[in-house]
């Protein structure tokens, strides 16, 4: 009997090794899937909300990770994906509420005196904002003539360069 057990030993060691390798391969696939999902969420969130997307390294230098280490990477990525999804959902709720506010402000500017809603607050790309302001300044304020002004968007590169040139020439004139 002990002889039989000894004969079986190399086979069982091999089987365990193959099983572990398959488990590692599955974990690596999960890591790849989660990394893709996280990359998509980071791209979606850019400019809208801050996402914590870092997952700390488990090794100082590159090496083959064991099952436990791969599980740690997978779990940390899964946590980041869950947090990112939640943050984006919360952000979407805020943006929906802001869009509704904007709709009301456009319909009745006088009810939202001085309120300013920027494009990023409603999840739109680029610069610009909607601002409830009195028509004709102080007169409009006294008369209750309110309107929504739409800003002209991002400054053009040429305009920014001109401002920079002007600032430089001013520095040269008044050192």
């Amino acid at each position: 009997m002990p002889a039989l057990l000894q004969a079986d030993e190399p086979t069982s060691v091999l089987r365990v090794e193959i099983d572990e390798r398959q488990a590692r391969a599955q974990l690596r696939q999960q890591v790849a899937r989660l990394e893709a999902e996280l990359a998509g969420l980071v791209g979606e969130a850019f400019g809208r909300t801050e996402l914590e997307h870092r997952v700390a390294a488990v090794a100082a230098e590159p090496r083959l990770l064991d099952l436990g280490e791969l599980e740690r990477v997978r779990d940390a990525l899964a946590d980041r994906v869950a947090e990112a999804r939640l943050a984006l959902r919360e952000r979407a709720l805020v943006e929906t509420a802001n869009r509704e506010l904007l709709r009301q402000m456009l319909a009745s500017p006088a009810d939202f005196k001085g309120l300013r809603i920027s494009r990023d607050e409603i999840g739109e790309p680029g610069c610009g904002a909607w601002h409830s302001r009195p028509r004709l300044g102080a007169i409009g304020r006294l008369m209750g003539w309110w309107q929504v002004k739409v800003s002209s968007g991002c400054p053009l590169a040429g305009r920014l360069a001109a401002v920079e040139r002007e600032a430089q020439s001013k520095t040269r004139r008044d050192p």
Binding site: V31, V42, G43, F46, A57, E61, R63, L64, L65
Partner: protein
């Protein structure tokens, strides 16, 4: 079609191939003198800078090849947001510096190859290499030439037939770096699962052509 001679395929330790199917290393050698890049190369870098801006950098990780390297970094225990993949490191520098700055050859040629294809490339002094390149894990007591400290057993390295020549996605060992005196340069591409062979070949050809001024 392609570059003559064709890229030389290196080998990967069998147990690593079993763990990481798709992992590979290929290299090509070119005669070149390191130094200031000629005007056409610098112009090409400027063109590349004009085509690459913030939005590209943000969405880089969603593209298949850069994503494949990020995944591999995770799988070997690295944090790709700290130890950046080669293409992401260049993207980061592009955004920080405002352009792909010229650092002379072969670095500029590598920048062009990496940014255009996303493939991880690096250069070695070909005259110091001893045989084909490979990817393997370090043996007990082994260290990177020029470094006193021993490598932790199992560290993934790029090696020639004599010794490790650099960490995989890490620093190059002393004596194998391209220096001003180098006259023959080996360009190596590390391929991981998800990176098509055509991208690897294209990246190597692109660098070789840039180096030789074709």
């Amino acid at each position: 079609m392609g570059w003559d001679p064709a890229p030389v395929q290196g080998w990967v330790a069998p147990h690593l191939t079993a763990e990481f199917p798709g992992l590979g290393i290929a290299s090509i050698e070119v005669d070149a003198r390191p130094g200031k890049s000629p005007e056409p190369v610098r112009r090409r870098l400027r063109d590349l800078s004009d085509r690459f801006y913030g939005a590209h950098a943000i969405h880089l990780r969603e593209r298949p090849v850069p994503w494949a390297y990020r995944v591999f970094f995770r799988q070997i225990g690295l944090d790709p947001d700290r130890t950046r993949t080669p293409v992401e490191q260049l993207a980061f520098e592009r955004i920080r510096e405002g352009a792909f700055k010229s650092h002379g050859l072969p670095k500029d040629a590598l920048t062009i190859g990496i940014v255009e294809t996303g493939v991880a490339l690096r250069a070695f002094d070909a005259e110091r290499l001893n045989g084909r390149l490979c990817i393997r894990d370090s043996a007990p007591g082994e260290s990177l030439p020029g470094r006193r400290a021993e490598l932790v057993q199992g560290t993934l390295v790029i090696a020639d037939e004599a010794s490790p020549v650099g960490l995989l996605f890490g620093p190059t060992a002393e004596g194998y770096r391209v220096e001003r005196e180098s006259r023959r340069i080996a360009i190596a591409a590390v391929q991981v699962n998800g990176v098509p062979q055509i991208s690897v070949d294209e990246s190597l050809w692109m660098v070789a052509a840039t180096m030789e001024g074709v």
